[in-house]
């Protein structure tokens, strides 16, 4: 049971535009996003005394703090494992403000992942040392398994075999995301929905993952501002209460290559997160009106429904059928368009969309939202959170 459950809130969100070429440096994107989050909340940047980052962030907190004119940082942390750490930045910030380690904490991601270094090209040529981190890639990279899509594909093939899922089932995730993105002026794919047939015609990237199963590397920045619920009530926006935020690693954990577990079709680290969130909030799957599920590759969205108990193991293909995950369905997901449709900002934009759903300001607003589930990277050490309208 997390003692900070329902005690803290996301009070500000701020983003740059999302694009394939921002035309400016990642540091500018980071500062713009942070300033926008502070302005959204009505908090002066000088009041910020904590920064919560996750790895692969190259705009370090001291650089951003200098640019924001922050005199003292009392709390700063960096969660490991890239995209798995998105919601964990909120967990760290929540713990920090709840404990008094800091009053206002900024969490952010900003990069030119498309126009500078493309993330999807993989790790060939990296990891040339002899530490455990380098050596861990020796079991995959020499065989040509070097990109995130390729790592994810190995899970997807077995998931299809064991559970009877098809490429069309993966495609339904992409169709839902792109339908939602089509309504979102901020989305990369605004006005550009896709059909299942278009998904099926898209080229193979790493069998069975097709082009339209993949998020696209993006340029952009997204920041969040977190403080206590007491302070939140005096700020500019309706608080998005952090019902709970938690991390998870499970046995046999590797970074996107947990291939040696008895069953490789689940995401047990996501199960670790799910159990903490349900226990700490007292909520369950039927209490969730909409979910922002990490969607760098569609096949790894399906087991998230299963780990959180929306359906049984292997049943996600049935759960998502018939438009269930689209606006108007029983659990609309990724109402901003997700990372397939809005932008791939390592999941931080999904947290911001969760905040908008709680505020009632999404372009694809779901009716009567009280609780939103948000997850971070799948297949990696991960995290998740529940945002809610309700305080203690």
């Amino acid at each position: 049971m997390l003692t900070n459950a329902r005690q803290t809130a996301i009070v500000g969100i701020g983003a740059t535009e999302f694009s394939k070429e921002s035309g400016r440096t990642p540091m500018r994107l980071a500062v713009e996003a942070c300033l926008a989050a502070c302005a959204d909340a009505g908090v002066d940047p000088s009041q910020v005394d904590g920064m919560s980052l996750f790895s692969m962030e190259r705009n370090h907190e001291i650089e951003v703090a200098r640019n924001l004119g922050i005199d003292e940082l009392r709390f700063f942390s960096m969660v490991n494992h890239g995209g798995g750490g998105g919601c964990a930045t909120v967990a760290m910030a929540s713990m920090a403000v709840h404990s008094g380690a800091a009053d206002y904490v900024l969490a952010y991601r900003a990069f030119n992942e498309r126009s500078w270094r493309r993330f999807g090209t993989g790790v060939a040529g990296h990891h040339t040392g002899h530490e455990a981190d380098d050596v861990s890639y020796s079991w995959t990279s020499p065989f040509g398994l070097v990109t995130p899509a390729q790592w994810a594909a190995m899970f997807a093939t077995r998931y299809m075999h064991d559970h009877g899922a098809t490429s069309e089932d993966f495609g339904r995730i992409a169709v839902a995301d792109r339908r939602h993105a089509a309504n979102n002026p901020a989305a990369f794919f605004h006005g550009r929905p896709i059909t299942l047939a278009e998904h099926q015609e898209s080229r193979m990237i790493a069998d069975p993952i097709r082009l339209l199963d993949c998020c696209q590397e993006s340029d952009g920045g997204q920041a969040l501002l977190i403080t206590t619920l007491d302070r939140a009530r005096d700020l500019a926006q309706r608080p998005a209460v952090i019902g709970a935020a938690a991390q998870g690693v499970a046995g046999g954990q590797w970074m996107m290559r947990s291939y040696y577990r008895d069953d490789i079709t689940g995401l047990p680290e996501m199960g670790v997160v799910a159990r903490q969130l349900w226990k700490s909030t007292g909520l369950g799957p039927t209490d969730i009106q909409t979910a922002m599920l990490y969607d760098h590759f569609t096949p790894l969205v399906l087991p998230q429904f299963e780990e959180f108990g929306f359906c049984g193991p292997g049943e996600a293909k049935d759960f998502i059928a018939d438009g269930a995950i689209e606006i108007g369905g029983r659990l609309p997901i990724n109402t901003n368009g997700g990372q397939l449709g809005e932008a791939y900002i390592h999941g931080m934009n999904g947290i911001a969309e969760g905040v908008r759903q709680v505020r009632g300001t999404s372009v694809n607003q779901v009716d009567d939202v009280t609780n939103v589930l948000v997850t971070s990277g799948s297949g990696v050490p991960t995290s998740g959170l529940v945002l809610t309208t309700e305080g203690p």
Binding site: A124, T128, Y137, P142, L145, V146, T147, M154, D207
Partner: protein
């Protein structure tokens, strides 16, 4: 790509074209059908069918071996008879089209040949193409049609044969390999905790970590996950114990890496997650399986290949079933039946031994320097060996009593020592109750080496003699 009727390189194009349709003098095969030559051919092709190994009959695909001049004649490609097709070859060579590769061979057989048969060959120059451009360079396709007759004058088989006479591209193989260094395959990194595993691979053994509890673990760890004991036990921490994998495995999952392509890997590159018979999994490459034939659960067997000066990696290939040892009557065969995927290591021995066994004198099949002079990176497999291997593979699947009736072969990219040639095929028709057609391809990492069809007469289901009388 057709470059039109630009024939300026050949001095007397009209004379060359006037030879088309003419038939040369009958030539008597330099060797009679003999059990010894059959035996050597069977060894080179891997034939184990007693109907042929025992010397009672010659495998049908040896049809034109008997009329080949043989390596010891030493006259290479420059035979200078007045026959129309030899004159055509000579005129093209003089015009600079000195390279030669076979591209098509359509054989049909009237009866099985027995030791003592003495053949006579009648060859007609069937066509000479306009100048064409291929991956090898520019040149002309020359097609001959031959009939083979026995001493009684009866036809025993026919052969339609096409070669490409081309102008070698200087500076390397015509396939576009410019010799520019390609980026290195990512190399494994190790430290003292895993060095024993990589050292084992260099000795061509796949080592799996074994803890004192008997538990096997891969990838290696420094402690037993079940007991917390250090590798090697408390007294010998730092010493690593292992078992050597048997090499048997099944495919647990797989992907084909396509985009972005990494230049150090073949395209497509198959990465498999295999479960070893010992119960641990590892990521590896799967070779010899076209992507459309990958299937979770398929049996695989261990193989090794050197990738760097100091690195040998494991890879896995399909398990090849043994020769079908009972009759396979046509009513047990259906359209769509797959023949077993069969990878064949293309070695120097296979290429040169095949050339010798098929009595092929062309230097490009046994002399690497000659091959390079003619624009190829190394010696390459001759079409008669490709034909022999394909027909042996079909015969092993078809089983005792099956007799090859005809085979049509088209060659694509040449195959060289070091390649893995994987044969794949399926039944495309079942007719007359006993004659079936098989369509096949043989692929290497360079592309499709061989493709074609074969017709086979399957035996009745009754227990008659295995060595049939021919189609």
């Amino acid at each position: 790509m057709d470059t039109g009727a630009d024939t300026g390189m050949v001095a007397d194009w009209e004379t060359l074209r006037s030879l088309v349709g003419l038939t040369g003098q009958p030539t008597i095969a330099p060797v009679a059908v003999s059990a010894d030559v059959v035996s050597m051919w069977c060894v080179a092709m891997g034939v184990t069918d007693p109907a042929y190994v025992d010397g009672a009959a010659a495998p049908p695909a040896m049809l034109d071996v008997w009329s080949m001049v043989g390596l010891d004649a030493g006259i290479g490609a420059t035979a200078t008879t007045d026959d129309p097709h030899h004159r055509a070859y000579g005129m093209l060579s003089e015009a600079g089209f000195t390279g030669v590769v076979a591209t098509n061979s359509d054989q049909s057989y009237d009866r099985l040949l027995q030791p003592g048969d003495q053949l006579t060959r009648h060859t007609t120059l069937a066509s000479v193409s306009d100048r064409k451009r291929t991956a090898l360079g520019e040149g002309h396709f020359v097609t001959t049609e031959s009939e083979f007759r026995d001493h009684a004058g009866d036809r025993v088989g026919t052969l339609r044969f096409t070669v490409f006479k081309f102008r070698p591209v200087s500076g390397g193989p015509g396939g576009g390999d410019s010799g520019a260094p390609s980026p290195e395959r990512p190399r494994p990194r190790w430290n003292a905790d895993q060095a024993w595993h990589w050292e084992g691979l260099r000795d061509r053994e796949l080592r799996i970590q074994r803890f004192p509890s008997g538990r096997l673990v891969h990838p290696p760890q420094v402690t037993d996950p079940a007991t917390g004991e250090p590798a090697g036990g408390p007294e010998t921490a730092g010493h690593h114990d292992w078992v050597v994998a048997s090499g048997d495995a099944t495919l647990h999952s797989w992907t084909v890496t396509r985009h972005p392509p990494h230049p150090a890997f073949p395209q497509p590159n198959v990465v498999g997650l295999v479960e070893l018979a010992e119960g641990v999994r590892l990521v590896t490459n799967v070779v010899g399986v076209p992507p459309e034939r990958l299937a979770v659960g398929m049996p695989l067997v261990l193989d090794f290949h050197e990738t760097h000066e100091d690195v040998t990696l494991h890879r896995f290939r399909p398990v090849v079933p043994p020769r079908h040892d009972r009759r396979r009557p046509a009513d047990e065969v259906a359209v769509g039946d797959r023949l077993p995927l069969t990878p064949i290591d293309v070695t120097v021995d296979q290429v040169t031994g095949g050339a010798v066994a098929t009595r092929d004198p062309q230097d490009v099949h046994h002399d690497p320097a000659a091959a390079r002079d003619k624009g190829l990176p190394d010696v390459f497999m001759n079409i008669l060996t490709s034909t022999g291997l394909v027909t042996r593979w079909i015969g092993d699947w078809a089983g005792p009593g099956a007799v090859l009736d005809s085979v049509r072969i088209g060659l694509g990219s040449p195959t060289h020592p070091g390649d893995l040639l994987t044969l794949d095929g399926s039944v495309t028709s079942v007719a007359d109750g006993s004659t079936i057609e098989v369509a096949f391809t043989g692929r290497t990492e360079r592309g499709t080496h061989v493709h074609g069809t074969a017709t086979v007469v399957l035996p009745d289901s009754g227990p008659t003699s295995a060595s049939g009388s021919g189609g």
